[in-house]
């Protein structure tokens, strides 16, 4: 793996299911995502694909998205 691709990997995001939400969490509803982010998000939920690096979506590491389950955005 060359530098560029490992760097890219480290900026990618994945989704992790969460069971309970701490009071300090940042939480958004899926309807707050823009159309493009929703596409990426849905693909990640359905097909387990990684989310693209910062900038391509408006998802923040650590935030929880309320969808059919609750998921947290994590570093890939």
């Amino acid at each position: 793996m060359n530098m560029a691709s490992s760097e890219l990997r480290s900026r990618q995001r994945r989704l992790e299911p969460v069971e309970s939400v701490p009071p300090t969490a940042t939480v958004r509803h899926v309807d707050q995502l823009d159309t493009e982010t929703l596409d990426y998000f849905y693909d990640a939920v359905e097909n387990g694909r990684a989310l693209p690096a910062d900038g391509a979506t408006n998802l923040e590491v650590g935030e929880i998205i309320v969808f059919n389950g609750y998921v947290r955005v994590e570093r890939a």
Binding site: V27, H29, D31, E36, V66
Partner: protein, 407 residues
């Protein structure tokens, strides 16, 4: 220095305040709300009522947010009338306020059922965070529920009952849930979702009256067929009445909502409106329309503010709204105006997958996706491009939609 007054601190009013401060750093900005707390996430309060989300993450702004931006926030302040000749806002709680430009962003209030005992204890309506707290507390102690209102807000009550272990009957007037947007095949998927969480849909029903005990607490609902349903919890979501009483005599054009153009301007100079309350000119649809969704309200607030600050028709509102239901183990997304249009195409793919696309003059104006959201951005793109595709509905109903297959 311009004085902007915004009535309503929901997402449309708050988004307008934020944009106005960015666009006009010197201006005076006042936000008035009759609620006791600053902007919170209205589309997450149902998760709190379900018992799944603590209160703190639902709040969006604290009072410091307004202070930092030098925006005056007036909580617990009810606007009673406005004088558009003198440019004055009258309130119950404080002195009159003069404005140069006014934004009305007051949304709606859930409509009460016009039946006996509809205001009894234990019968809930759902709009504010306070409502959600009350619903949660009561739902935690309840066993049997009745839900009325076969639409997008009624189903939130079904989800609350499901999550809080309340066995409930969902009394619907017609033969299915959201009959204006779903056929029987689509609705049946939703009915199955309800049954799985312990909520039984009851068709060709509704509520003729509620019954109460000696303490005035609801104990049952009787439908027009004379059937009685036991309940110690009831949720009513039959629609919204727009908060326009204070506009009486102000000369603003109303048509079940405040009429605005694509710049969010009302018919009265320097008075704008944004959010649920508007009947706006939808540039994609080519006619006046209404949206009742978070994203649309936020964008309307932003657009109104841009045009207010520019004192010009600087940017028009062009938006395809989305509304999801996340309560079941399959996704649901309604987009655009699925209940409008002159024709539609639909298909069922499996017991949990169904799709409808609605067309007007051959162009997509909205739709509903159940079970598979993958084509959502493609359909929205076609809407924005105003492509005439109704005669190629087959391409849109393919499980995998490929826009390159369109002629």
């Amino acid at each position: 220095m311009t004085h902007y007054v915004i009535i309503g601190d929901g997402i449309s009013g708050s988004s307008a305040a934020e944009t106005l401060r960015e666009e006009d750093p010197e201006a005076n900005i006042t936000v008035i709300t009759d609620e006791g707390e600053p902007l919170y996430n209205r589309i997450l309060i149902k998760e709190h009522a379900k018992g799944k989300l603590p209160e703190a993450p639902i709040s969006i702004h604290d009072e410091g947010w307004y202070e930092e931006r030098d925006i005056e926030l007036s909580l617990n302040t009810h606007v009673t009338s406005i004088d558009t000749d003198e440019r004055i806002v009258h309130t119950h709680e404080r002195d009159d306020l003069e404005y140069d430009k006014l934004l009305v962003a007051t949304g709606g209030t859930p409509t009460q059922l016009p039946v006996e005992n509809s205001d009894a204890d234990g019968i809930h309506h759902f709009w504010t965070f306070q409502d959600a707290r009350g619903i949660k507390e009561h739902a935690e102690q309840s066993d049997r529920g009745v839900i009325v209102g076969a639409g997008l807000l009624g189903i939130d009550f079904a989800a609350v009952c499901g999550a809080q272990g309340i066995e409930a009957d969902y009394l619907m007037r017609g033969d299915r849930w959201w009959r204006y947007a779903l056929s029987n095949e689509g609705a049946e998927i939703m009915h199955e979702g309800m049954r799985e969480v312990g909520v039984e849909p009851v068709f060709d029903s509704g509520v003729d009256r509620f019954e109460v005990d000696d303490d005035g607490h609801v104990v049952g609902a009787v439908d027009p067929n004379g059937e009685r349903y036991d309940c110690d919890f009831a949720g009513v979501a039959i629609g919204l009445s727009f908060n326009t009483e204070f506009l009486r005599g102000a000369g603003l054009e109303e048509d079940n909502g405040l009429v605005v153009d694509e710049y969010m301007q009302t018919n009265v100079d320097d008075v704008y409106a944004a959010g649920d309350i508007t009947r706006f000119y939808d540039v994609l649809l080519g006619e006046q329309a209404q949206n009742g969704s978070w994203g649309s309200a936020k964008e309307q607030g932003r657009i109104a503010a841009v045009n207010m600050a520019a004192d010009d028709e600087a940017e028009e509102f062009e938006w395809v709204s989305s509304y999801s239901i996340t309560h079941f183990d399959f996704p649901f997304l309604s987009f655009g105006h699925p209940t409008l249009g002159d024709e539609h195409a639909e298909r069922k793919y499996s017991d949990t997958e169904w799709r409808r696309v609605a067309f007007k003059d051959g162009k997509i104006v909205g739709g509903v996706l159940i079970g598979d959201l993958s084509p959502q951005s493609k359909f929205k793109q076609l809407m924005r491009e105003q492509r005439e595709v109704a005669d190629q509905a087959e391409v849109l109903l393919n499980k995998q939609v490929d826009l390159d297959d369109l002629e």
